[in-house]
């Protein structure tokens, strides 16, 4: 697993992908940080920038996930991986964790945000870092969804479009939920919305069920990816 992890992680930084992914998210966080904290509103909180960049993931996540499993299948390098004495679970986990690590680097940079604010005002560190934790785990959930979609196809382009579509629907989920007249269905949609749950953290709430929800989504899609790779051998 370590071999796959190391290779994948390194490949994100020998190509442009990793830098692009990080730069893209950090640019938008910086933009909102400037807008909320340094210019217009002057709030001493890092939660708003983190909450606001949620939509950026629709584009950022596919950058990282589109090639992960699809490309191996296309270039037949999966023949090396799948005939080596490493289980499919470990291969998929290695790839997933490499993406999580790249994303973790983004969060490490973000962790500096509240510290910067503390130089000029008094941020609520607990709220900010709770939000950062939620931000990290929600990203892990998105990455798992991207991983799964990448496992379904051998075309990175299709994986990219598919992931974008899936995240777009997820992003709109709470709005769609609002349109549905049946209350139960509407609130189900809302409760599945990652963005809606991030709102709780922005509103100064350490929402434990939401953290568990993010982890469950991540776990579920990683599991599905493993199944999907396994299933391919039997087509």
């Amino acid at each position: 697993m370590l071999a796959v992890y190391k290779r994948e992680f390194k490949s994100y930084f020998t190509s442009l992908t990793g830098y692009l992914f990080m730069a893209f998210i950090l640019f938008f966080i910086g933009l909102y940080f400037t807008a909320y904290n340094l210019s217009n509103y002057y709030v001493a909180s890092f939660t708003y920038p983190l909450y606001s960049v949620n939509f950026v993931f629709m584009i950022a996540i596919p950058i990282l996930t589109m090639r992960t499993l699809a490309d191996d299948r296309k270039s037949k390098t999966d023949q090396l991986l799948l005939t080596s004495p490493v289980s499919v679970t470990k291969i998929v986990l290695g790839k997933y964790l490499a993406m999580v690590s790249v994303y973790f680097l983004v969060c490490v940079v973000c962790a500096l945000g509240p510290l910067v604010i503390s130089q000029y005002g008094t941020p609520n560190f607990r709220t900010d870092y709770a939000m950062l934790l939620a931000f990290f785990l929600s990203g892990c959930a998105y990455l798992a969804i991207g991983l799964y979609i990448s496992s379904l196809t051998e075309s990175p382009v299709l994986a990219c479009i598919g992931t974008f579509g899936a995240l777009l629907i997820l992003y709109l989920l709470s709005d769609i939920g609002g349109l549905i007249p049946i209350d139960a269905v509407g609130s189900l949609f809302t409760s599945l919305s990652i963005q809606e749950r991030l709102m709780n953290f922005a509103n100064n709430l350490l929402d434990l069920p939401s953290l568990i929800y993010f982890l469950s989504v991540a776990g579920f899609f990683v599991f599905m990816s493993i199944q999907s790779v396994n299933k391919r051998r039997w087509h």
Partner: protein, 314 residues
């Protein structure tokens, strides 16, 4: 070493491998021979655990490839049809990655990498990006990857594709040397390649095993399917009437000869013994002089075509 039992693989309606069974003994070189699309690659992919079989079983060194995949796969070095290379890595990085992936013990990892790279002749391109290498070199990097750690079983799917003649000879020597201590299975649709290096030949056609024998036995078998080419003084009708009197003989082909009043014919015996003498006296007795006679040995090539059902008119 390897046991393949009743292996069947379907892709939708297409039957790629049809009830294939064979065993592979230790320390020999096996050749998979068959025309394109015969199921060689599919069989190899199943044996290495890349594909699942529709039914049947593969046992590698006592480990079922499905039930104990990690133990079974650890015994195998595999070079697929298309070398599985990460083109954005250098050759050395790739070899390091493959060594780690194959869980080679850390202490001797470097020695293993060096040995494999030396055997495949890629030490001089160690620091080059794989994407900048020529097809022949890529093939060799793939081969080096398969040789890493010198596993007991080495499976090579068309190992000499894309190599120039000098390299082909080099690779053949490598394979021959490997065959002393390792079990090597290689596939090819080129007969001369297989007969040059393999101890044992498995001929596959339409997913079925049509022949499995040592190279010498197959060659003998090819010689034994005797037939005679004759040039006889007489009309084709006379000749046919005569041959039909002897139930042991069979006319395969009969046509008028180039000279007036002669007939050329291809004669086959239903038995395997040498029939030259008998045919000579038989024809002499009936006053049809034989002007020419040659023994037509069916070559290994023709046997292969015959077995795989690709011979003209069959």
């Amino acid at each position: 070493m390897i046991e393949v039992k009743n292996l069947t693989k379907r892709f939708g309606d297409h039957l790629a491998v049809d009830n294939l069974s064979f065993t592979v003994e230790k320390g020999q070189i096996y050749g998979f021979l068959g025309p394109n699309g015969a199921g060689k690659s599919t069989t190899m992919n199943i044996m290495t655990g890349y594909l699942g079989a529709t039914s049947g079983q593969v046992i590698i060194d006592g480990h079922d490839i499905l039930e104990e995949p990690e133990e079974a796969k650890a015994c195998i070095g595999f070079l697929p049809e298309l070398p599985p290379l990460y083109v954005d890595m250098t050759v050395l990085e790739y070899m390091k990655f493959a060594a780690e992936l194959k869980k080679l013990p850390k202490e001797k990892r470097w020695d293993d990498i060096e040995e494999a790279m030396e055997t495949a002749g890629i030490l001089d391109v160690a620091d080059r990006l794989i994407k900048n290498l020529s097809k022949g070199y890529r093939q060799r990097v793939g081969l080096a990857q398969a040789l890493l750690g010198m596993p007991p079983i080495i499976i090579l799917d068309e190992p000499t594709v894309g190599l120039d003649p000098k390299q082909i000879i080099e690779i053949r020597d490598v394979i021959k040397n490997l065959g002393r201590e390792h079990t090597v299975i290689l596939s090819s649709h080129i007969l001369s390649e297989i007969s040059a290096v393999c101890d044992h030949i498995l001929i596959i056609s339409h997913g079925k095993l049509v022949a499995s024998d040592t190279a010498e036995n197959l060659a003998n078998r090819a010689k034994h399917t005797n037939s005679l080419e004759l040039l006889v003084k007489g009309t084709p009708e006379e000749v046919r009437a005569l041959v039909e009197k002897d139930s042991e003989l069979e006319v395969v082909e009969l046509k008028p000869g180039e000279e007036e009043g002669t007939a050329g014919l291809l004669l086959a015996s239903k038995h395997e013994e040498d029939i030259r003498e008998r045919v000579f006296y038989f024809f002499a007795e009936h006053r049809l002089p034989i002007l020419g006679m040659s023994q037509d040995k069916v070559s290994l090539e023709e046997l292969f075509l015959e077995l795989t059902g690709e011979k003209e008119g069959e």
